[in-house]
């Protein structure tokens, strides 16, 4: 451990100094000291007001939310989202069905994007956060911690379950003037999933870097 000019502890292991006790704002680059927050507290950047740290969830919360979202994800994908009746005939679709519909036509490239946004990336994100939080319960970094945290970070912006939920609502209204429309069980699972995935916020997962210190820092 070193004592730097500013009185902040520095570590020199990799050949250059690192400052685990500092935090730099991603919006404006202003440096602050990392603080120990109590549950429910936020640390804001004094220069631009961006959220620096958040302590809304502890590891038990994170694990519980992750496992619940895994369950809801399975229900949301295994059951029909929306069904319609017309003259005694019935038709219904799942999330995957809507991807296949786009894949069948000139819009095929879009099917890939939609499949990623509402099925594949949420599935990977939920698996990652379940895996990481279960090990974190025991105070440990899960095998593959670094690469999984990086994967989670890069997928974060592209997972769109909430938008899917709104799309189901809009589709319902769109078709209701022409057909007898029913919503499936999947919709309720999807609604719950949208809430849970919003609750598992970015900075709560990011805080695992600090709550589970490794030898490197």
């Amino acid at each position: 451990m070193w004592e730097s000019e500013s009185g902040i502890d520095a570590v020199t292991k990799p050949g250059f100094r690192t400052y685990p006790a500092l935090i730099a704002c991603v919006s404006c680059d202003t440096v602050s000291e990392r603080r120990d927050l109590r549950r429910g507290e936020l640390a804001l950047c004094s220069a631009c007001g961006a959220v620096l740290q958040r302590a809304r969830l502890n590891i038990q919360h994170l694990a519980a939310l992750s496992l619940s979202s895994a369950f809801l994800f399975i229900v949301a994908n295994a059951t029909p989202m929306i069904g319609i009746d017309l003259g005694g005939r019935h038709s219904e679709t799942t999330l995957w069905g809507s991807v296949l519909s786009l894949a069948d036509h000139i819009t095929a490239p879009l099917a890939v994007i939609v499949a990623l946004a509402i099925i594949v990336l949420p599935a990977i994100q939920i698996s990652i956060v379940c895996w990481l939080s279960l090990f974190a319960l025991g105070g440990r970094r899960a095998p593959g911690f670094n690469s999984l945290m990086r994967a989670w970070e890069s997928m974060h912006a592209w997972s769109m379950v909430e938008v899917g939920m709104l799309a189901i609502l809009v589709s319902y209204v769109k078709m209701k003037s022409l057909f007898d429309v029913q919503v499936g069980i999947g919709v309720w699972a999807m609604a719950g999933l949208a809430v849970l995935l919003t609750a598992i916020a970015h900075r709560d997962v990011r805080s695992l870097w600090f709550e589970l210190q490794s030898d490197a820092t």
């Binding site: 400052y19 991603v26 404006c28 786009l102 938008v163």
Partner: protein
């Protein structure tokens, strides 16, 4: 620390993945000691990439609005069915009395994409010109872009769901059309443009000015 210092000014940088603050001199271009990500003081070629992606998005935005996004055919249609565009979908909701859903789609499909073009274009011009008199406002605008970005996917998902379920052969059928492909690409391109832009550049230019 009592005074506000910016990492770049005091010779530090922070890891974009795990946030670890490092001494810049020897760290730039090397792997982060905590998570292994390549350490960079700023996102590389941020402004050029953001301009390129935003321009591509703006070009695709034209066919996305002009070309049909969905084709519907009902029993008794003698003219081979009906094509709808993004805007005609909004108008149809409005005329059917669903002013709330019409407003929602109008915001997601027209207002949000236009806002992204205008705000990101403005931020790119401001960051290049080195003006930046209203930094707090600019940073708030950027955070707004990050939040609203993906809601534009709404119409794409609606077309996917409706065309999947309205499949009564010979009676009532719906098919996606190429306009929605362009629209989806606009959403992806503008999201990539937003992610490429490094908001810290706004503050870097201020010091020089």
């Amino acid at each position: 620390m009592s005074t506000i210092a910016r990492a770049a000014e005091i010779g530090y940088l922070s890891c974009r993945v795990c946030g670890l603050v490092c001494e810049r001199a020897n760290a730039e271009g090397r792997g982060c000691p905590r998570c292994g990500t390549e350490l960079r003081q700023r996102k590389p070629a941020s402004i050029a990439r953001a301009w390129a992606l935003l321009t591509a998005g703006l070009i695709f935005y034209v066919p996305a609005n002009v070309l049909p996004v969905m084709h519907t055919q009902a029993l008794g249609d003698t003219n081979g069915g009906e094509d709808s565009t993004i805007m005609s979908g909004v108008i149809e909701f409005w005329q059917n009395g669903s002013w709330d859903i019409a407003t929602l789609i109008f915001i997601a499909s027209i207002v949000i994409p236009s806002t992204k073009f205008i705000i990101l274009g403005l931020l790119l011009i401001v960051s290049r010109a080195g003006g930046g008199a209203r930094l707090t406002r600019d940073i708030r605008l950027y955070r707004l872009l990050e939040i609203i970005g993906y809601w534009s996917m709404l119409d794409v998902l609606v077309v996917g769901l409706v065309t999947a379920v309205v499949q009564f052969r010979g009676v009532s059928e719906a098919e996606p059309r190429v306009g929605i492909l362009f629209f989806g690409l606009v959403v992806v391109l503008t999201m990539l443009a937003t992610l490429s832009f490094d908001p810290r550049l706004l503050w870097d230019r201020r010091k020089r000015a």
